[in-house]
């Protein structure tokens, strides 16, 4: 479905199983939940008692002509009111507090699970969908908790309480009022059915409208260039009209339901007057009971209307729950071992691929039987065409994926047997584009080591030749990099990302070199920082620049997922094989465009 972000289906299977599971997550909140329940019961009771006080005030005071009793009853009535206010206040607050705490914890729980899923999951998922899990889905739950939960609880309590109270006051009259209940239920159910359909349509149409709007605005230049303004407006009008129609459907449902309920309530009043009035005249019921009944009648109708309103929120909340549980049910494909092998204090950085075969779809292997031993401190350049398996090899090296066959080892230990903390501490990947998080430059530099001090950061910046640049920024380390680092140029972002890697100080570095064009000055700085980063470390570089390849200790040429040839760059060039052919193309293109292509 298009615009799934805005609209979509709201029906779920097995709502009770969902709710039971949701309740299990809230076990730690049992105590405050009980407190909330107690306040709510007390509040309902207080509300139900008030008409009874009024009744006796009328019967024993007003109609009996006993003024002292009238004033006494008023006093009691006021006390009951005070209690009602207090308990209602506590109940409203406590119920919501439980719900909000639950949601905050659920949000963190889902996010924790999500962020620990494997890279394969993220590659498959759309960012927008994952974001909406954490935002609009939790919002749907919040809405229910804020506006729905309390009404559901109090409404159910109230309907039950009022029924009991009415029978307590007068059995025959209670039956008369209850006779209206079937009619009320039928009307409510019919309304739900219509309203459900209408709201479903509204959700879909609002998505279409927002989508069309967004596209109309972001594509406005093309529209004007091709003078299609009128056609666009007509098409938008059509989408907009559908949304209007959906709303009108809902308006019709609402405009029929509420009058029907209201009319039933009037019929209830009429019945009480007719039946109760006759009983009062006959002397079989007191006048105060009649008044109490009139009050109870309003208490009786209100919650049923409320429930009917909340139903929609409940549906949305259940749908959201099932989506959130969907994330919690996704198991990470790359998992931490139960009993990891500890690494020695001093990690040498010997790295090897041993007969590694892997494909995102196991039927279609991307890298096949890769056997590669890398000495501590050696610099390897991986080259090859697009699709040769270079980035896949890099991802296997940092355990974003696990090989289907063979193993990847650090100092002879299979990566799958290492604790994540050890693995990430020693093997780090520097992705192509310098992705920065919003926040200060300092936070970004020490991202990998949040406890790094400013002195350490400056030392690394000096070493990378970046200290002057940071000093030239008005707020130095406190400079806000803004969203995605938009404060800086793409070259500067790359530089910051390289320094970030230096601060992390990994033993083995896996570098996916950037392909984008840089101005010559930044280019020089990047070269320097790169050199600083790679020297003295085991390095696996997916190379896109001729200069980087030339400086490698060893070049590995991948072709169709296999190692085609390997050796020192000069030797390979002399040998005149695959590398020599690639080199030729780069040389030619390099003169034109300053960058080397992935393609031959």
């Amino acid at each position: 479905m298009m615009y799934a972000r805005y609209g979509g289906q709201h029906r779920v299977d097995k709502p009770f199983r969902l709710l039971a599971r949701a309740a299990r997550y809230g076990r730690s909140l049992l105590r405050p939940a009980i407190v909330a329940a107690v306040w709510t019961i007390l509040a309902t009771a207080a509300k139900l008692v008030a008409p009874l006080v009024l009744r006796s005030g009328i019967d024993k005071g007003v109609t009996a002509g006993d003024l002292r009793f009238v004033f006494g009853a008023t006093g009691v009535f006021l006390i009951v009111l005070g209690l009602q206010y207090l308990t209602q206040r506590l109940s409203t607050y406590q119920v919501a507090a439980v719900g909000e705490t639950y949601l905050r914890d659920l949000r963190v729980r889902v996010f924790r699970h999500l962020i620990n899923l494997d890279m394969g999951f993220f590659a498959k998922s759309k960012v927008g969908v994952l974001v909406s899990r954490m935002t609009s889905d939790v919002e749907a739950l919040t809405q229910f908790v804020d506006q729905g939960a309390i009404s559901v609880i109090t409404s159910l309590l109230m309907v039950t309480g009022v029924t009991v109270a009415m029978f307590f006051v007068d059995v025959a009259l209670a039956w008369t009022v209850l006779a209206l209940l079937p009619a009320l239920l039928v009307v409510s159910i019919i309304f739900r059915r219509y309203a459900d359909r209408a709201y479903q349509a509204i959700r879909e149409q609002i998505g279409q409208v927002l989508g069309a709007l967004q596209e109309g605005i972001s594509g406005v230049r093309v529209v004007q260039a091709y003078t299609q303004e009128r056609r666009q407006a007509v098409e938008f009008g059509r989408v907009n009209e559908e949304y209007f129609k959906a709303n009108l459907q809902a308006a019709k449902a609402i405009a029929s339901y509420f009058p029907a309920v209201d009319f039933l309530a009037t019929v209830g009043t009429a019945l009480i007057l007719l039946v109760g009035g006759r009983r009062v005249i006959e002397g079989t019921m007191s006048f105060g009971s009649l008044v109490a009944f009139l009050l109870y009648l309003s208490y009786f109708f209100e919650p049923i209307v409320q429930l009917s309103n909340v139903y929609n929120l409940l549906q949305a909340a259940l749908a959201a729950l099932s989506k959130l549980f969907g994330i919690l049910d996704t198991r990470p494909k790359v998992a931490e071992p139960a009993d990891p092998v500890p690494l020695p204090e001093l990690v040498r950085g010997a790295f090897s691929f041993e007969h590694v075969t892997f494909g995102y779809d196991p039927e279609v292997p991307i890298v096949v039987d890769i056997d590669l031993e890398i000495d501590p401190g050696e610099r390897i350049a991986i080259v090859g065409e697009t699709g040769a398996g270079k980035s896949t090899l890099a991802k296997l090296a940092v355990r974003f994926y696990d090989p289907d066959e063979g193993q990847v080892t650090l100092d002879s230990v299979d990566l799958r047997r290492l604790a994540f903390q050890d693995l990430r501490r020693h093997v780090a990947m520097v992705p192509q584009e310098g992705f920065l998080f919003s926040g200060s430059l300092r936070d970004n530099l020490r991202f990998a080591r949040p406890d790094a001090t400013d002195e350490e950061l400056w030392a690394v910046l000096e070493a990378a030749g970046m200290a002057d640049w940071v000093r030239s920024l008005p707020e130095r380390l406190d400079t806000e990099v803004r969203e995605r680092g938009s404060r800086f140029s793409s070259g500067e972002r790359q530089l910051v990302a390289l320094v970030r890697a230096l601060v992390a100080d990994p033993t083995v570095i896996v570098l996916d070199e950037a392909t984008s064009n840089l101005d010559p000055e930044t280019e020089g700085k990047v070269e320097a920082a790169l050199d600083r980063l790679l020297s003295g470390r085991t390095a696996i570089v997916i190379a896109h620049r001729l200069r980087t390849v030339k400086r490698a200790d060893r070049v590995v040429v991948l072709d169709g997922g296999r190692i085609a040839e390997q050796g020192p760059p000069d030797a390979l060039l002399a040998a005149g094989g695959a590398y020599a052919r690639l080199y030729d193309v780069w040389e030619r293109r390099g003169r034109d465009s300053g960058e080397i292509a992935d393609h031959v």
Binding site: L130, V131, V220, F236, I254, L294, P520
Partner: protein, 591 residues
Amino acid sequence: MTGRPVSALTDPTVRAGLRLLGRTLLRYRKASALSIVSALLWMAMVATVPYLTKVVIDRAIEGSNADLLPPLVGIVIAAGALKALGIGGRRFFAFSLSYRAETEMRNRLFEHMQRLAFSFHDRTATGELMARASSDLSQVRLIFAMLPITIANVSLTIIVVVTLIVLDPILGVVASLSVPGLFLLANRYATKILGVSWEVQQRLADLSRVVEEVIAGVRVVKSYGQEEQVIGRLAKAADRIFKRTMEMLRLRSSHVPAFEMIPALATAAVLAIGGYRVVQGAMTLGDFVAFTQYLTVLVFPLRITGWFFAELPRSAAAAARVTELLKTAPEITSPKQPIPLPEGRGEVRFSHVSFSYPDGPGVLRDVNVVIPAGTSVALVGPTGSGKTTLAYLVPRFYDPDEGAVLLDGVDVRKVDIEELRAAVALVFEEPFLFSATIRENIAFGNPGASDEQIRLAARLAQAHDFIVELPDGYDTVVGERGYSLSGGQRQRIALARAILRDPRVLILDDATSSVDAVTEEQITEALRKVMEGRTTIIIAHRMSTLMLAERVLLLDEGRIVASGTHEELLATSDRYRQVLAETGVIDEVAP
């Protein structure tokens, strides 16, 4: 996002918004009148039913006249039926009126936005325009939905107060005290809670940014094993939402129960004072019951009214923002008496053209150049030299401050825009595809084009081959919500779209993003074919496209500083070589 809540109705922008509200009401006067009439019918019946109850009690029950019960109760039911009719009519007419108004205003906004010139869209964020046409309009709609009931509520309140005082002056005055109390409380609550809920919305937006960023940067997070760090960030954002929400809940839990308390306190007064008056014989039991009923009847209307007056300034402010946007005049419009474009093959002449963006420095200074019909030029220059601006003056995306742009000898400002833009087609740097089929995207400028013509254009643009490989061929849905194409593929579809217009002048804003060699070759090949014999202006970022043009114009600081073939300039102009190196068009410069 709607802006921060405002509370002053005296604010001048708010007044402008109120005028829009008023005008719209007049425009839909039939529905407005019907909804108000229904609301008043409802109001009259709401005021009547408790009185009828009193009559039933006094005449039938207290008078012990059981025969009077059925007819009197029949009247109660009849009044109830009228009341229901009033509710239904009020809701239906108010809702349909409000949605009709919202829909029309959204159409108007959309149409207007489509007509506003590039300069407007340059300085206005998409999100802002989205907010105008969605959340602001919903806020405006609220007023139309609530206005009839508010009118009825206010009259109901007045009538009830009058009735209470007529029934029993002393008790009436005492009980009526609950009216201002309830209204003030409701209004205060609504104002406060709108403020806090605005804060909650802001914190929610913060959280959504955190999630979006972390997921976009998940590779970095995992590379450095910093999952816990980002979970901490999220937890902090979630906690901020929690705190704000709890603040909102505290407000709710202290105010909402009070809404019930105020009429209940009045009921206590009725019990004490009313009981006293009944015992004294100054008041009937029916009056007593009517009093309690009238008090319950008022709770909901007063709450809604309090809410209405808290929302009103916000809605007026939203309406003001909408008005402001609608009032922004399109800067570029067709002349009243356009002259037809003469026959020609697309000679483009810039005559003493100067241009600057509002509040910005001059972008173009006295540019004089002729591009002979059927020839191609490449515009080269450092970032900000005015290349794109110069090209955009031809289809009148902007108008020059001084001088004129002539197409086949006619000032482009004198030609009808539709005719002009049909003669000048443009491929943007970021090719924009609509969420529609490839066929529709190519035929965007020629909705009536035949399949054959579309295929021909796609072939010319070297796009046909990859299109037929796609799952649904020409029917593949692309764009933001469809199949994702590579940058090179999108560019070729945009090129096909331009070719299909068969323009006199073709303008190519070359993409800067790097494409692989094969794609580059294909694009170059496509361009070579398309450019044959057609006036073409290329804004070049790449050597391969630069080489396609017969002539190069070097722009620097808004002036043309050199022109000639690529080879000539390479040999004679230091600045040219320098610019090429700086912009990364070429790597090293041969002396």
